[in-house]
Symmetry: C2
Subunit: 419 residues, 2 copies
Amino acid sequence: MAQHNAFYAQSGGVTAVINATACGVIEACRQAPDQIGKVYAGHNGIIGALTEDLIDVNQESDEAIAALRHTPGGAFGSCRYKLKDIETHRAQYERLIEVFKAHDIRYFFYNGGGDSADTCLKVSQLSEKMGYPLTAIHVPKTVDNDLPVTDNSPGFGSVAKYIATSTLEASLDIASMCATSTKVFVLEVMGRHAGWIAAAGGLAGEAEGEPPHMIIFPEVAFDRKKAMARVDESVKRYGYCVIVVSEGARYEDGTFLADAGNTDAFGHRQLGGVAPTLAGMVKQDLGYKYHWAVADYLQRSARHLASKTDVEQAYAVGREAVALALAGKNSMMPAIRRISETPYQWDIIATPLADVANREKFMPPSFITEDGFGITPDCRQYLLPLIQGEDFPPFENGLPKVARLSLTLAERKLPDFTL
Amino acid sequence: MAQHNAFYAQSGGVTAVINATACGVIEACRQAPDQIGKVYAGHNGIIGALTEDLIDVNQESDEAIAALRHTPGGAFGSCRYKLKDIETHRAQYERLIEVFKAHDIRYFFYNGGGDSADTCLKVSQLSEKMGYPLTAIHVPKTVDNDLPVTDNSPGFGSVAKYIATSTLEASLDIASMCATSTKVFVLEVMGRHAGWIAAAGGLAGEAEGEPPHMIIFPEVAFDRKKAMARVDESVKRYGYCVIVVSEGARYEDGTFLADAGNTDAFGHRQLGGVAPTLAGMVKQDLGYKYHWAVADYLQRSARHLASKTDVEQAYAVGREAVALALAGKNSMMPAIRRISETPYQWDIIATPLADVANREKFMPPSFITEDGFGITPDCRQYLLPLIQGEDFPPFENGLPKVARLSLTLAERKLPDFTL
């Protein structure tokens, strides 16, 4: 087989382990020198391919690439840039293929969520039409865990472990203070459409009375009266109430809690998230002292508390993507398959991109308790394997050691292109 | 020496390592059976002594006590309850001594910050006046690092490590997204009066351009125009701006940023903290896309990322408190002394409570850069030793394992007392 080059790009919001996937892709490419020559990475994701800002990954040492495995963020830069529909914006897709052609890139690894699976599929289809022999593989990633087919999405297990741990730790804090001080603690977590991350908070406790006492999912319409009654009951019964709330929590009519028309002194929409909004309701309806936290980027970059299972899966899908490409499988995604529950066993299967693109996976109703505020044993059984094991990064001078890449750009061969 | 009992209580906001101090106190007591009989702990702090809710610590196994070393929160319950002035509320102090007398308690270990040092001193003075032989030792604790005399306060090193790590990790996240998405990230940290925790965020980067690009201290009057100019400059120069802001950030006139008169739709003071307030300014003045996080309890309960140095010091002050008491030193506090910087060496010295009570330690001006937005090399040199080393807790089923205590209450011997 002749030697050609490979291109790897990161797409959308990053995770604590997307670089572990990059590490898997690059290491597998380096181990196939007969088929794969250079590896290029898109500077700031797919935009780098359009503007021909290709990072020459061959300039990076094996040590630097190995260190990607324990470095959060997106080492080559990611982007929120969705290629528009192919009918009216064909030029962009053609440009991609021109850049690939100019750099002899025949392997395209696109690491992202649902949107990028769709882009990957379209690029693959167009290259076929244009007679350019490209093998396009989508590599799954998203903290939201909303990709279909795959048992879970790399990135989710680590945010789940972080949120479960933080809920446990913060609960011990408030439990020790509630006699005379804070009675309600609200932790806001990511997940605008699906409540997977909020559900992970539920792993912090299992027995009657153990926090969190309430989870507020985007899947369950928020009813202020019902929710506040539950807060009150929890405070009266256990002395305090811990709430994990999804940023996507919404009313029956679809309005987000965090966007309920509250305005600040300047007339702007209230900037606070759902946690302060909910805390405000607690104050107003019940008068309890509260504290709230918004984890935001901390949760999806907390590589220091990554799930070992997640790191291994993130790395494995990267390697498997290359294996699929070298086997000539085009328009595919390596997906994680759960083989058994106890003990937890998994492998990776190849899934056609057509089955993945533009489909979202929500929490099944059977994972949410009847009252809408908790997770069921089925949900716990699904989630627990994903947070198993620790994979602490090396520390240096008190802080996690991270990869330092040179990010050298390859020489351009084409005229400029305006996005 | 005859055998008498000991009483230990936790006071004020808890930390990731206050239970390590409890562990030190209790283990040292158990190793002195000739002098110390039973150890009691105040249920919910000093309130437990007033209401005679004494936890019989002898009912807890050695394993449970050892597990306190890696358990966040306050295992016996803490409280925000400051004994009032002794002149008009002498009854409370006398009640304390009655309870001590009833349970043959002659050793009083009070684990807290500045307020509790003051209470400890007063109890000691009154017991002397009343002719009751009590040895009162204050054991330092506070995430705020604002206790005088001691080089640092147990609890601070761990929150510093957590904030520095979180700043580093979140910065890698935004750095990889800033080309097309978020340009400004704001992390709000604790510290209402002193900027020690915010300063710790500065450890995440050192070289030119490394985040955080700005720290906003309570010690430096906030100037919106100057601050926004700095944000803009950072975004233009580095592509993004990471800000660590203290919850105590305030204007020249002392008004907190988070309390600047903004009201929600119901006319209530804006509930958001300083992070959303600052993010709102960024949006309004500069139009940049932002994200913000409020660490709140997560930062002071993050035992999973504790500083080994901090855990060792927290445990050591606990043990030393008992050693001081057994040596007959009354009204003292074990304080940490920095012996040398490189290598970092420390020991514990006994400090009279009169030198500690009611004094706050602020950031010295020499620790803040001239522009008011950064930490100096002196500050870095002071902070770095405190975050050294990791002391990961044991994990079980994916989550940190925590101490499970029985918290059995001792039988009451006195009539009820109303607080």
